[in-house]
Each structure stands twice: as structure tokens, then as C-alpha cells.
């Protein structure tokens, strides 16, 4: 049966999964950066890894409403797993290493997920923070295994899939990171547009009602927390593999805080927030560090305060106003005569 209403509904549902022009442009630009910005591949690799890490946080924060100050626990666990299995010769092929590290981090995520099921946001902040701190101290303590404060030395990676060796300028590393980011992004994108993703948003919005339509709230939270931990672990593994080194700072509180900051800058709950936030954050960090090497965190801090105080809605309103202004300039410029009236609100 295809009544007009059914048509509308199915088109509306299909639209959720369709690629929009800005999305396609985003990934084309990312792909173009491989050829157009060869001198920037080192920082671009860092951006891709941070973006992937932020993507993992967006899954739990933006979609399931789990606030975390300890996502670095899984990032770091993945980073050390990748380093250790390569160092001791179990798995030196990077892609296999990513898979193993991702599974290891997901397993840790699964076990610790039960700690964040109950309680308020504050409890969750403290529990996630605590898990990351505990893990960092364990890594510190096990210095015979992890190298402790000196970091994990002697990680050597085989060529990717046996064919592409890492080079000193980081070209291979960037392409590799970008491909991994893109594939995992595709995975996340499909996941959030699926019935499962919809149920996460329902659980975030109203757990009481979610249970009243037959959703096992806890099982869904465990599932997404596990998946997000796995992705964070893969991001950590990418860092170890592309730098051939892992140190305690992969488990640092700073890393958890930075990734939250990245999401706040880019916006939560639409997947691109983590990627855009990672780009802005890294570029800003890079620029500020070159201008004022010692005090760059001052500006990052100031930006954060402004961003939160001004609020996203007002920023969105500001963007709309800019668009309005541009449209107006073009219109008056085109006709050269009448002062254009305000464009209607239904611009794309």
C-alpha cells in the first residue's frame, strides 16, 4: 500500500540515512588533504586519531547520555595493547593489531560498563574518572611490562597488510588513520540511524518511558558503552602504531578532559561534532603553541568559557544571522536597487 502519508513517512525515515552535500564535501576535503597537504600529515594524523577518539565519546555522551571523564581508560588500554602485542612479536601487522586492541578495550569497557549503569551524572563522572586513574596507576606500577614513566619503547610495526610500510614523514600513517577513521565513522553513522541508535536516544531522553515500551535500558547502555570503548581503544592503538611508542599520558586525565572539550567545541549528538571539534582543537593548539608556547592553554580555557557561556543556541542564531546577512548582500548587490526585505526562515 502506498498512500501519500505512507510515502511521506518512508521518505522521511529514508532521509535520516541519506548522505547530504556537506557530508560528502567534508569527506572529499579530507581525502584531498592526502594529496594537497603532504607537509601537514603529522598533525593531520593527530587530528584523525583525536577525531576518532571524540567519536567514541559522542556515541555514549551524545546518543546515550552517559557523561564520562575517563574515556582515556579505553584509549590508553588500546594504546598499550597495540604496543605490547607488537613489541613482543605476537601481532606486528597493524590492522590485526587494531582489531585485537579494539576487542581488548571493548572487553574492558564491557566489564566497567556495569559501574556506570546506576547513579546520576555526577556519579558517572566520578566513576569514569576513577576507572581511568586506577588504570593509569596500574600501568605506572607494572613498569616491567609497560615501561612505567619512561614509556613503552621498542615498538616496531610491520607494513600495513604486509604491503605499506610506515615512513618517517607520516604519509602512510595519515592515509592509514584516515581510512580507519572513515570506516569506523561509517559504522557509527549506520549504528545511530538504526533502530538500536534510535533506542539509545530514547533511553537518553526518557529511561522510564523507554522501559515502558519494552526496552531493556541497562542492556542498551552496556552495549553502547562497550562499542564506544572498543572504538576508543582503536584510536589509542592507532596512536601507538603511528608513533611506535606509548607512554602513560595515553591514560592521563588530561586526555579524557581534552576529548570532552573537543566534543563541546564541535557539538554533541551528530557525529561530526567530534571530527570538527578535533580539527579546531588541534589547529588552535598548534597555532597558539607557536605564538605563545607556554601559555596556550590560557586561550583554550578562555575559549571554553566563552563557548559554554554564550551557548550553542546563540552561536547557531549568530550563524543564521550571518547567512541572512550574506543572502541580503548578494540580493541587493545583484539588483543594485531595492533594499531587500529579510529572507524567509526557510532557507536550506
Amino acid at each position: 500500500m502506498t498512500t501519500p502519508l505512507a510515502d511521506q513517512v518512508s521518505r522521511y525515515l529514508a532521509r535520516r540515512d541519506r548522505w547530504t552535500a556537506p557530508e560528502i564535501a567534508f569527506w572529499l576535503v579530507a581525502a584531498a588533504s592526502i594529496f594537497l597537504l603532504p607537509g601537514k600529515h603529522l598533525i593531520l594524523t593527530e587530528i584523525a586519531i583525536l577525531g576518532l577518539f571524540a567519536l567514541s565519546l559522542d556515541l555514549i555522551l551524545g546518543y546515550a547520555g552517559i557523561i564520562s571523564l575517563g574515556q582515556a581508560a579505553y584509549f590508553g588500554f588500546g594504546a598499550y595493547t597495540a604496543g605490547l602485542i607488537a613489541k613482543y612479536g605476537f601481532v606486528t601487522e597493524p590492522v590485526t593489531g587494531l582489531v585485537v586492541s579494539g576487542i581488548a578495550a571493548a572487553a574492558l569497557g564491557f566489564v566497567t560498563s556495569f559501574l556506570v549503569l546506576r547513579g546520576s551524572d555526577l556519579t558517572r563522572l566520578m566513576v569514569t574518572l576513577g576507572v581511568a586513574l586506577v588504570l593509569r596507576e596500574i600501568a605506572n606500577r607494572l613498569d616491567w611490562l609497560t615501561g612505567g614513566a619512561d614509556g613503552l619503547q621498542g615498538v616496531t610495526m610491520a607494513p600495513i597488510l604486509g604491503r605499506f610500510s610506515f615512513d618517517i614523514a607520516g604519509h602512510t600513517a595519515y592515509v592509514y588513520s584516515l581510512v580507519v577513521l572513515f570506516l569506523l565513522f561509517l559504522f557509527c553513522r549506520r549504528l545511530v540511524n538504526s533502530p538500536f541508535g534510535l533506542s539509545l536516544r530514547a533511553v537518553k531522553g526518557n529511561p522510564t518511558r523507554a522501559a515502558a515500551v519494552g526496552i531493556s535500558v541497562n542492556a542498551r547502555l552496556v552495549a553502547i558503552y562497550t562499542v564506544a570503548a572498543g572504538i576508543a581503544g582503536i584510536a589509542g592503538a592507532l596512536l601507538t602504531q603511528t608513533t611506535q611508542f606509548a607512554s602513560l599520558d595515553v591514560l592521563d586525565f588530561n586526555r579524557s578532559a581534552d576529548v570532552l572539550l573537543v566534543l563541546v567545541i564541535g557539538g554533541i549528538g551528530y557525529l561530526y561534532g567530534g571530527l570538527i571539534g578535533a580539527i579546531l582543537f588541534k589547529l588552535m593548539q598548534d597555532y597558539l603553541a607557536s605564538v605563545t608556547p607556554q601559555y596556550w592553554q590560557f586561550w583554550i580555557g578562555l575559549l571554553l568559557v566563552i563557548l559554554v557561556l554564550v551557548g550553542r543556541e546563540r552561536l547557531a542564531a549568530f550563524r543564521a544571522w550571518i547567512r541572512h546577512l550574506i543572502a541580503r548582500v548578494f540580493r541587493t548587490g545583484g539588483s543594485g536597487a531595492v533594499t531587500a526585505s529579510a529572507p524567509s526562515a526557510k532557507e536550506p
Binding site: L13, L198, R209
Partner: protein, 250 residues
Amino acid sequence: MAPALQTLALEKRFGGLLATSDVSLTVEKGARHALIGPNGAGKTTIINLLTGVLRPTAGRILLEGRDITEIEAYERVRLGVARTFQINQLFADLTPVETLGLAVSERMGTGTHWWRPVGTREGVTEEIVALIEAFGLADVMHERTATLPYGKQRLLEIALAIACRPRVLLLDEPAAGVPDAERHEILASIAALPKDVTVLLIEHDMDVVFSFADRISVLVNGSLFVEGTPDEVARDPRVKAVYLGESLDG
């Protein structure tokens, strides 16, 4: 044949407060059963006990003869018990289409499918459309639920329960707070519920109760007080006393 829903000496204590006391309620299959009582009588507590939001301190709950006292809230939905809430419990950021699509997916057991976009499963769209039409939500179906007029939210509240295809439906003051102009729409949709769905209704509005119910239980201070047909309850002097606020002890 076992009754659709039955409670045996149900009791719920909140600290020193006895919110539900020795309630043995039987709701027959296909019944239009109303649960009435003054404010604070414990009506919503009973709904919460029946749906598993609260656990009873004592007593059993049987669904079609099966003991469901220890079963989790979300599993009871899958067994066929759905409810609406006295105060809207909706998904503010989802549209009605998404909200209903969610419930339909869950009922079909495809709610954990992560590899497929919503609505690609056969029959989901058709069912969403049927619900949208039945509850008059077509004009607002793509708007965020938080922005809907109150009456539409109330309709969505009921549609969402129906999307679970319950055999037993618990309606907690479905028309509460709805302006008179939109009220008839809610009442019409309740009257149009499938006959094979057993309905337990909590309602303050006596006109609604007496036009809808074929059986009425009166709850006072957490205990069942009177039960009978609408005529019997209407004639019962004790019920009148309760509703006129007279002391029973006097």
C-alpha cells in the same frame, strides 16, 4: 479462563507509609475496568506495581494466570502489558514518527538491529502510518515532540502504548489536563480501542468513567473499598460519602 490481570493481597510500603494495602483486584479479559478514588488513594502506585516500575512489599501479580511479580518492567511490556502515564513521559527530541517507529521496532524484536536504518523492515512504515492516522497526528508527525500542543502529546502518549500491541492496557488519567476542546479526541480514541484489549483506566472525571467502564473499583487509602458495575457503585452510599469528603469513621 484466567483473568487478564489479577493481584493477590498486593501491598506496598514506602517507609512507614502503607501506599497499597491488601489489594486483590481482578480484571477480566476484554474488560473496561475503571479504578477510581480520591487523590492520594494510591491509584498510580497500583499502576506502577502492575507494570513493574515498583516492586510490591508483599503479594503477587498474575498476568493471564502467570506470575509476573518478579519480572522486569521492560519484559512485562513484551508479555503484553502497556501503560500510559498521568504526566506525559515522551521522548522530547524525537518526532512522533520516530517515537512510534521505535516502539514498533521494539515490539517486532528488531530494536537491537544496528546494521539497518530505521523503517526498512517490512511493515514498520505501514504500522506507523496506521497509528498516525488513528490518533490524528499526521499534521505534526515530523515535529519534535517537545514542541507539540499538549493535546497532541496526550494522543501520542496513548498511541505509543498502543504501538506495543498490549493485551492489557493501563491508562493513567489519559485526559488529565487536556483542554475541553481537545478532550473529545482523546475520549474518542479510547472508545475506539480494540475490543480484545483489556483496559484498566484510572480517571478522575466521573462522566468519562461512567460512559466508558463496565466495571469499577474504588480505592481509598490504598485499599479496595467497593467494587461493582457502574450502577452498583453509583448507588453505593459509602462511595458517595468518600467523594463528598465525609468522614467514614463518623
